[in-house]
């Protein structure tokens, strides 16, 4: 079974985000970029499936500027077999990404598409769901436990009530949550081997997709600064404040 793993290049989770002075977006110049952590988990899961013999080939996909190749190299160094880069400098919104991924899925015919549940930059949490709708495939989102056997995936989903277990028929879209696994380090020997792995470049036009944004971002601003806390002397005082000031009890 071939597994497709879309990976997004995002501002590293350690970076303190700054809004551009003209409020047009978030500052990304001279900022450390990394693979979206949830996509790392998806890639790790694909590698584990391959190690178990369930998956036979892992194809990593990234969309965006030239530098996305760095993210793909990371995916390859972790253990993906080859990569596809959809090259575009356009602003990409979830629907456009889902359409491009659909076009790639039609070409590649994977048995499974593993995505992060969301990207940590825009937190849209839409791409996987849109892709499932466009392909007409089953979907399981927020997956933190995954077993694959006999053409079916048994998925534990993290929902408010606890873990919900559902079964989906393959081919399917699965979006992964934090607790599914702990991604490995790209080991030094594998980093060297990744050099020889192939990255194919395509454009949205070649895929027949119009990626023009459908939504307009008006502006970005910093979240309000947190007020300094106060120290309470006793439990009674704390309870008092929770009642009178916070109004939570």
């Amino acid at each position: 079974m071939k597994v497709l793993v879309p990976v997004k290049r995002v501002v590293d989770y350690n970076v303190k985000i700054r809004v551009k002075s003209d409020q047009s977006g978030v500052e990304t110049a001279n900022v450390k970029m990394s693979m979206n952590p949830f996509d790392e988990i998806a890639n790790e899961q694909a590698i584990r499936l391959k190690e178990k013999g369930t998956a036979t080939e892992i194809v990593a996909v990234s969309l965006g500027e030239q530098k996305c190749q760095e993210t793909l190299r990371t995916a390859l160094a972790m253990g993906a077999d080859r990569a596809i880069h959809v090259v575009t400098d356009a602003e990409l919104q979830p629907l456009a990404v889902a359409k491009c991924l659909k076009a790639i899925a039609v070409r590649e015919e994977p048995g499974l598409i593993l995505l992060g549940k969301q990207a940590i930059d825009d937190d849209s949490n839409q791409t996987g769901q849109m892709l499932a709708a466009l392909l007409g495939w089953a979907q399981a989102t927020f997956v933190s436990k995954l077993e694959i056997a006999d053409g079916k995936a048994t998925c534990g989903r993290e929902v408010d009530e606890g873990i919900e277990t559902i079964e989906v028929t393959l081919p399917a879209i699965i979006t992964v949550d934090l607790r599914l696994n702990e991604p490995r380090y790209a080991s030094l020997p594998n980093i060297m081997k990744a050099k020889k792995k192939q990255i194919d470049s395509l454009t949205p036009e070649e895929l027949g997709v119009d990626v023009a944004p459908r939504l307009v971002y008006t502006h970005f601003e910093e979240p309000p600064k947190r007020q300094a806390g106060v120290r309470v002397e006793s439990v009674d005082e704390l309870v008092g404040k929770l009642k009178s000031e916070a109004g939570v009890i």
């Binding site: 190749q69 490995r184 380090y185 030094l188 980093i191 060297m192 050099k195």
Partner: protein
């Protein structure tokens, strides 16, 4: 000239950095507090380092290492250098390159187990009476039939307590020199447990908690001829052929530690307020940051340029001495100023600064003191002029 990193180099830096931050930083407080690197901890972290292919990464692929070129190896050393030295040196060991000089039998016995993480090496040159002037060593190796008999004392020998064997340099004879006779030196493999060879605990020292040093005693220690590493009387040549880049390694670890200290200083200068404003607004503080950044940049360029030259076979002793000198003195300055920017908080063990400051001290002493580096640089300038 190309100052950019390749994709592979960038990934190696990322993996090493992530490993250092996730697997080494969490154990630093324990090692700093107790001064001891627990064996169980070593085994746990070592297993992870082996899995990530970080262990023995300095070694060629053919012997089981990662086959990094010198420049990439130095990038990796820089990242490791951020963390407590004992932790990275022991858990992510880089066996001495000199083991590559061994015969096939010696490789089986010493090199491969070190690369696999089953054995540790140590290197014994320094003696109580012979530090910078290594040729002045008094410990001797005397032939006795087919055997060699070793006598004398070595001290300051790093992690000899945990090492399984020592590559030991001994005076094995004399040859006529231009002014006075010169000692001939031979290198030997000496296994722990060889009769006549004892390892005693060394001294407590201000730098690198958990990183031990030991005293090695040789008392009629008998070794077979197969214990000789390289050629008889050619011990320094073996060392010079293989150990050249270790000065750059020391310098590279200084770059990483300086970056870590600097990040704290920058953060503090941009958040701490006194007299109603961020202290970074005072020129007395901001200019320190500028000077630190310049020193760091200069040291980094020098280390990596020397590494680049090393890979091309054009690195000179003076070039490597300059890079080591700059990087180690830079770290001393950056660590000191980072503490100054923090004021009292810089001295507290809440932050890694007091430690980086202590650890910086040894870097100007081992692998050739700053004076010895200046000696090497100045001789390269003056010798051709007959001065």
């Amino acid at each position: 000239m190309d100052f950019g990193l390749t994709d592979e180099q960038r990934l190696i830096v990322e993996t090493t950095r992530a490993f250092v931050e996730n697997e080494l930083y969490p154990h630093e407080a324990e090692v700093e507090r107790t001064g001891v690197l627990r064996r169980e901890l070593v085994e746990e972290v070592k297993a992870k380092a082996i899995r990530a292919g970080l262990y023995a990464a300095n070694m060629p692929e053919a012997v089981g290492g990662a086959g990094l070129d010198t420049l990439t190896w130095l990038l990796y050393e820089k990242e490791l250098g951020r963390a407590n030295y004992a932790l990275h040196w022991t858990c992510v060991a880089r066996p001495s390159n000199i083991l590559l000089a061994g015969t096939p039998e010696q490789r089986e016995r010493y090199l491969y187990p070190c690369v696999r993480g089953e054995k540790w090496d140590c290197l014994a040159m320094t003696e109580p009476g012979a530090g910078s002037d290594l040729r002045g060593m008094k410990a001797t190796a005397r032939r006795d039939g087919a055997d060699w008999v070793l006598n004398g004392t070595k001290h300051f020998i790093s992690h000899a307590d945990i090492a399984d064997f020592a590559v030991t340099f001994m005076a094995s004879g004399e040859e006529p020199g231009p002014r006075a006779p010169r000692k001939l030196i031979t290198a030997f493999f000496v296994d722990k447990g060889t009769p006549g060879f004892t390892v005693r605990p060394g001294y407590g020292n201000v730098s690198h908690r958990g990183y031990t040093n030991a005293i090695l005693e040789f008392d009629d220690c008998r070794l077979p001829a197969e214990a000789v590493l390289g050629e008889v009387h050619r011990g320094f040549e073996v060392a010079n052929n293989w150990l050249g880049a270790t000065r750059l390694q020391v310098g590279a670890t200084c770059l990483g530690r300086a970056e870590r200290a600097f990040a704290h200083a920058l953060d503090w200068a941009s958040t701490r307020e006194q007299f109603g404003q961020k202290i970074g607004r005072f020129q007395g503080i901001s200019f320190k940051l500028a000077d630190m950044a310049v020193e760091m940049k200069a040291a980094e360029l020098m280390i990596f340029e020397a590494g680049w030259a090393y890979d091309r076979g054009t690195a000179t002793d003076a070039q490597m001495a300059m890079a080591k000198l700059k990087a180690t003195e830079m770290l001393a300055m950056v660590a000191d100023e980072a503490i100054q920017i923090h004021g009292g908080m810089g001295l507290m063990d809440e932050l890694p600064l007091e430690r980086i400051w202590r650890d910086a001290r040894v870097e100007r002493i081992w692998e050739g003191t700053s004076e010895i580096q200046r000696h090497i640089i100045s001789r390269a300038l003056l010798r051709p002029l007959g001065a």
